[in-house]
């Protein structure tokens, strides 16, 4: 296509016990695009994301990021390479404040995977705080920045998750159902945010059930069913694809 391939998933297989979760997945993500992966429950979408961030090792096949092999690497190495995942069930630091939750990933971005800065003061880290507050403002969470994260509402936790991902300015952002469980208004706000990031040229992979979200954001859609890719193409092509409608779309467009 002439476009730069950021993430290259090649011949990936994964089975759990007797269940084939992924079989022979080949997928290329182009730079600056928003790539949606859709499919019915149990199609293997989350497994695929987990393979990309090093949580699950594939039985076969490779994942390459910007020409660098990332299968077999530690999760923190993959993150440091620029692949950041936003989790579906909020994986936050419940005892820390909202601001601190965002400062932590900002430190990871600035300091790398390890830095012994025990003798510098947090109160001197004005850049990190500014960075974190900027992102919180973006997500509409600035007013809550002194709150303990564990006490927030579920929807706010999801937005905090997203803020924690965005503050690292990742090269590739993997979003696992970013709007699941959100109200319509929150969903639209999140779509707006994600559109704005898109204008900055960040590459994204989105797993999503909500077709409204998918069709508002995606440049390209891949459809998974039973661990296999059954269709791939631009949104219009997918919408018209009878195979996809049969497998998936027909039953959930009104979701």
């Amino acid at each position: 296509m002439g476009n730069n391939i950021v993430l290259d998933i090649a011949y990936v297989d994964k089975s759990f016990g007797g269940l084939q979760a992924l079989s022979n997945i080949n997928l290329q993500i182009e730079e600056g695009k928003t790539h949606a992966i859709i499919g019915p429950n149990g199609a293997g979408k989350s497994t695929l994301l987990n393979v990309c961030i090093g949580r699950i090792a594939p039985d076969r096949g490779t994942v390459t990021f910007n020409g660098e092999l990332i299968t077999g690497k530690q999760p923190h190495e993959i993150n440091q390479a620029g692949v950041v995942r936003v989790f579906q069930t909020p994986e936050i630091f419940p005892e820390l404040t909202v601001l601190e939750n965002v400062m932590i990933p900002a430190f990871a971005k600035r300091d790398g995977s390890f830095k012994f800065n025990a003798f510098s003061l947090l109160s001197d880290e004005t850049d990190i705080v500014a960075d974190a507050e900027h992102v919180l403002d973006d997500m509409g969470l600035l007013g809550q920045s002194a709150h303990v994260a564990g006490s927030m509402s579920r929807g706010d936790k999801r937005r905090l998750e997203l803020a924690m991902g965005l503050v690292q300015h990742p090269k590739l952002l993997l979003l696992d159902e970013p709007t699941a469980g959100m109200s319509r208004a929150d969903t639209n706000a999140t779509i707006d945010t994600l559109k704005r990031i898109k204008e900055r040229g960040m590459t994204k992979v989105i797993i999503e059930h909500d077709m409204h979200v998918v069709f508002s954001l995606a440049d390209k859609i891949t459809v998974l069913a039973q661990g296999m890719i059954i269709a791939e193409g631009a949104p219009e092509e997918i919408r018209g694809n009878p195979k996809v409608q049969e497998a998936y779309l027909g039953e959930s467009t009104d979701e």
């Binding site: 961030i53 949580r55 530690q74 999760p75 923190h76 993150n79 440091q80 995942r85 989790f87 994986e91 936050i92 630091f93 419940p94 005892e95 820390l96 404040t97 601190e100 400062m103 932590i104 990933p105 430190f107 990871a108 971005k109 300091d111 790398g112 995977s113 390890f114 830095k115 012994f116 800065n117 025990a118 003798f119 510098s120 003061l121 947090l122 109160s123 001197d124 880290e125 990190i128 002194a146 709150h147 303990v148 564990g150 006490s151 924690m164 690292q168």
Partner: protein
């Protein structure tokens, strides 16, 4: 210089604490605790708990083996007295460093596991140290008798500089003997330095990352942190604090025995930390002082002193109360300690500092912002 970058609140804390610690010989008198031996204990165990809190309080990793580092510090200090000099500075430095080296080894291995497995690994290592100190390592530790300083030890440095001590050798700092009040002040200064370092760690990005590891270690990995070196450093720092505390024990009383390394001794520092409040800055210090204070009070009681105390009661009641109280004091102090342990964990897992916080909040009855 760094001190001046601390927030004014922390500066205040540091100043108040320094004043409080250094004036202990004055204000502890009405409490019957104003004598040097006990105050040395306050400072030494305070330091131990403050250091332990850097591991347990910040990262949540519960070590049951820190008494081993205490013992290593003591033995190293005594050997420094025997071979090098009765000056306490080489002993302090060597004791801390050698304990740190032990902590690197034990920590490196133990931290490959988390949760209860980590606790059991540290326990296993500490028991190995303890058992070895009593058996094959007797040439180094002098077994059950304990290692002590002798008059005819070589003391290379002292001989080189012609330093001579009259009588049985005691630790000294350029001629000032480290027993009694000078010993207390030396320990107090060490405690304040240790507390200051702990304060810096609490207020640093490093400290925040440690707390984040306690909160959600997996998330830290997916956030781009290699958590193991963070944990190892926290482990080694707290091991060095323990080593320093052990050294100070030897400084104030030049004798080291293996019972210092027993795992129940590790349990005691855990209790101090949770009694005061794990993860709080000042809690562990409070906890250590309280426990050592009550240990001193309680173990001094015996039946006749109890009868005296309760002599205001009518006689049958007096004997009844004494019968109830007696098992908890004197020899039975450990019973009180165990019961205290349970009460704190059951009713006040956040420790006294949290308890005070809750109380003062109730009085002010301000809207709580930082609560779950």
């Amino acid at each position: 210089m760094k001190m001046f970058k601390l927030s004014s609140k922390d500066m205040m804390l540091m100043l108040v604490l320094s004043a409080a610690v250094l004036t202990m010989p004055i204000w502890l008198v009405p409490f019957g605790a104003g004598y040097p031996d006990l105050m040395q204990k306050f400072a030494i165990f305070g330091l131990f708990a403050v250091g332990f809190n850097i591991l347990f309080g910040l990262t949540g990793y519960l070590s049951f083996g820190h008494a081993a580092f205490l013992g290593v510090g003591s033995y190293t200090a005594i050997w420094s007295f025997k071979l090098l000099s009765m000056n306490v500075l080489p002993a302090v430095m060597l004791g801390t460093i050698v304990a740190g080296l032990f902590a690197v080894l034990i920590g490196y291995v133990s931290l490959r596991r988390t949760g209860i497995y980590f606790s059991i690994l540290t326990l296993a290592f500490a028991q190995m140290c303890y058992n070895l100190a009593y058996s094959v390592l007797t040439p180094i530790t002098n077994g059950e008798t304990g290692l002590r300083v002798l008059r005819d030890d070589p003391r290379v440095l002292d001989n080189m500089f012609g330093v001579v001590q009259e009588g049985s050798p005691v630790g000294s700092l350029f001629g000032v003997n480290m027993q009694g009040y000078p010993g207390f002040y030396f320990c107090a200064v060490m405690l304040l330095i240790g507390f200051f370092i702990s304060l810096l760690i609490f207020r640093s990005p490093f400290g925040m990352k440690l707390i984040a590891i306690k909160s959600n270690q997996n998330r830290m990995r997916y956030t781009g942190f290699n958590t193991r070196p963070y944990l190892l450093i926290a482990f080694v720092i707290s091991g060095m604090y323990a080593g320093l505390s052990g050294t100070l024990m030897a400084v104030t009383d030049p004798l080291a025995g293996a019972e210092r390394m027993q795992w129940t001794a590790s349990g005691e520092v855990v209790l101090m930390t949770i009694l005061g409040g794990m993860g709080t800055l000042t809690g562990p210090l409070f906890g250590a002082v309280l426990i050592k204070y009550f240990e001193n009070i309680f173990s001094a009681f015996n039946e006749s002193s109890l009868l005296e105390i309760f002599s205001f009661l009518p006689e049958p009641l007096q004997h009844f109360v004494v019968t109830i109280v007696h098992p908890f004091v004197g020899e039975g102090w450990h019973l009180t300690l165990g019961a205290l342990f349970m009460i704190i964990v059951i009713f006040l897992p956040g420790g006294l500092v949290e308890g005070f916080g809750r109380l003062s909040k109730k009085f002010k009855s301000k809207p709580t912002q930082k609560s779950e």
